[in-house]
Amino acid sequence: MTATTERAVGSDVRRIDGPDKVRGRAPYAYEHELGAQPAFLAVVQSTVARGRVTAIDASAAEAVPGVVAVLTHQNAPRLGDVAEEIAVLQSDRVQYVGEPVALVVAETSEVARDAAGRVLVDYDAQPADVRLAADRDDLYAPEQLMAGFATDSVIGDVDAALAAAPVSVDVTYETPNQHNNPIEMHATVARWDGDVLRMWDANQGPHNLVPVITEAFGITEDQLHIVSPYVGGAFGSKAYTHAHQLLAGMAAKVTGRTVKIELTRQQMFSLVGHRTPTIQRLRLGAQPDGTLTAISHEVVEHTSQNAEFAEQTATATRLMYAAPARRTTHRLAKLDVPAPTIMRAPGETPGMYALESAMDELAVALGIDPVELRLRNEPERDPERDVPWSTRNLVACLRQGAERFGWAGRDPRPGVREDGRWLVGTGVAAATYPTRRRPSQARIEAVPGKPFVVSIDASDIGTGAWTTLTQIAADALRVPMEQVSLRIGDSRLPKASGAGGSTGITSWGPAIIAAAEQLRDRDVPPGGLTVTGSSGPGDEAETYSSHAFGAHFAEVRVDRDSGEVRVPRMTGVFAVGRVINTTTARSQFLGGMTMGLSMALHEESVLDQGRGHYANHDLAEYHVAANADVAEMDISWVDEVDDEHNPLGAKGIGEIGIVGAAAAIGNAYWHATGRRVRDLPITPDKWFRQAPAR
């Protein structure tokens, strides 16, 4: 093997998929050229939230020229044992507005959509119940939370500690229902070649889908081939199998055609999941010097009739700060809504918004600087698990952020800085996200005189994996990046974990390194040599508490006449282990922080309380941050290598950027105005809940 002194890992190398992407030459799911003229699918969705389909009249739809078939629960193929929320067209039951009740297959997308509007469906409907409230009498404790976290945690006598605390806060925050809304709409192209199902699909890792789709269609893994080289964003909504992927497989089977389905933006509000809304009561007790004596974080959130999705909203509170008495609880309301799913840092994003807002309120009550309050409550070990940190550099992030932002000398008084119509303030919040790794395998084919072919069913949803995995492989093989040819996004490649939970680099990277080690000091014969390697969680998960940390600082300006909120600058500092690529890492933080800004100021999916549908189900009414919403973004990280956790010393970076960002903006809003808005988003109308402050 050629020796090379220049390391690719840690450099700022540009994305290798960039030149194709900027010209629009990288094929996303819907765009693969397959030769045969495809048929197009259009979904007919329920208009009621709860009830039964009593009659379907598809005759008008079937009469439209160009319609190939109309599938309903009466004639659709039976699926295997799949989860209730994706058992599509399997019964007459309806459990949320937007549930698929029929599917049109047609020669063109125009005909399919036209015919879908002509399918007449009658229902026996019952009233929708979509109201989330902390005073519901049917809230329940799930057996466990997502990822196996305990539903509740209690250490010490929390109520007594709170009652005895010289200084305390007792505040309730609400975060809204949100939608992932990747710009590439969920799409699948499906075709049966004999008994082999081929899919070109938008997902966060083809192997994530394999168990469900093979079970659904009663086929083996060898009979399923999912191809997903490029994915146009996901943020969680493309992690799991959804109904439309099964609809595509069914329609292809019934018609014998290559079929294309592309959900509409409106359909994405009901068919690919959402972030649950939360109601969170935070109680913090402290000594006058700021030492926390008690932390209580009680969460109420929703799940759906057809699934139990128990988001781990308060789990970050179990590790952020030291306190002798501490409690977290999670309760669910089972509502007539579509199944929630993961959305960028599920749990940490809403939970840390509440905790970090409460910490700010406590700092005010104590008269202590909010950065200093956090420094005074830094735990030496994981406070609930009582194990050491593999690395924890929150303090360094807070200090470096304060320095870069110019925090020193900040006047703590709220509502006293004016610039014409604008009230100006600054805020801070901390961030954390778990560091984990999952089982993954990789294969390397070496042929003398040719680039190494590195294969792993990893997924690049915008994270930069095409580039970072090539860097890692090049260093592991001790060759320049040009001598590595990477293959990802294909279920026929070695099985790997999906892109989720910020686990990509920590799972895939070590698998590639393990494969490369098989080639070390071996002569490659003229006919070539193929090696494999695998990696997965070790005992580090038991031995250590491993998390990324970060700190956000924000300046906020509020127009006293209109309530408009602007964020002229944000500073984010992160401690994330070894950074593989400084260019793509910065973009990950930038994207997370901006999505946090979007969460703070814009995003809310509004459930119609009467009918149970999402009233603002498009991008004109569900606002996400646009270019003009974002100004100066200062992003950096502290030196850190986490050698205890994985061979790369890296931590995931895809999610921590959003965690805490909304709290920093909310805290700055208070500093600017003297008003707390405890229910996101901080839209202009909330300024007018109180009389103008003149």
Binding site: R14, R15, D17, G18, P19, D20, K21, V22, R23, G24, R25, A26, P27, Y28, Y30, E31, F40, T108, S109, E110, V111, D114, P182, I183, E184, M185, Y230, G232, G233, A234, F235, E262, T264, R265, G462, T463, G464, T583, T584, R586, S587, L590, G591, M593, T594, M595, S598, D618, L619, A620, V624, A625, A626, N627, A628, D629, V630, A631, E632, M633
Partner: protein
């Protein structure tokens, strides 16, 4: 009802039959196999489908293909000649994208912005509406590029990517 139309797409003359309901975007993507322009909402809300139609940027999902008969359509791919367009290079250099799905629309919009500023067209943040020359400041870029949503949120990288070309083209100091 189908109609035969002719489009000049990225420099190539293409004849095709379209449904009178077919959008220009679907004509490109579903009938011509030209997939540089992306579909992100189909309602003119996200900008991923932005193309130049006879030199001006449009949301191609809001244009009926039959009304574009005879028109010149340019996608991001078509902005390149023998070499990539400078915006292609600066978008890569500034990492002005992540997943890349909205990116061809961003690039086309940026090309149009440079042209619009060169023509002296003001925007909502232009202070002097009658000035002959507008400087394409960061604020101007942000405003003029706000019709193109990027959920990965590369905005703060898109601005310098556009700014660099603006300087080269003499529309930014």
């Amino acid at each position: 009802m189908d109609r035969d139309i002719t489009l000049e797409v990225d420099g190539a003359r293409r004849s095709l039959a379209v449904d009178t309901r077919t959008s220009l975007l679907d004509a490109l993507r579903e009938r011509l196999g030209t997939t540089s322009a992306k579909k992100g909402c189909d309602h003119g809300q996200c900008g991923a489908c932005t193309v130049l139609l006879d030199g001006r940027r449009v949301n191609s999902c809001l244009v009926l293909a039959v009304t574009a008969d005879g028109a010149q359509v340019t996608t991001s791919d078509g902005l390149a000649g023998e070499q990539p367009h400078r915006l292609h290079e600066t978008f890569v250099d500034h990492d002005a994208y992540q997943c890349g799905y909205c990116t061809p629309g961003q690039v086309v919009s940026a090309a149009a912005v440079l042209d619009e500023v060169a023509r002296g067209w003001p925007s909502a943040v232009t202070e002097d509406l009658v000035a002959e020359r507008t400087d394409l400041t960061d604020a101007e870029i942000r405003e003029r590029m706000s019709g193109n949503l990027c959920r990965c949120a590369a905005y703060a990288n898109i601005v310098p990517a556009v700014a660099e070309v603006a300087v080269e083209q003499g529309v930014r100091a």
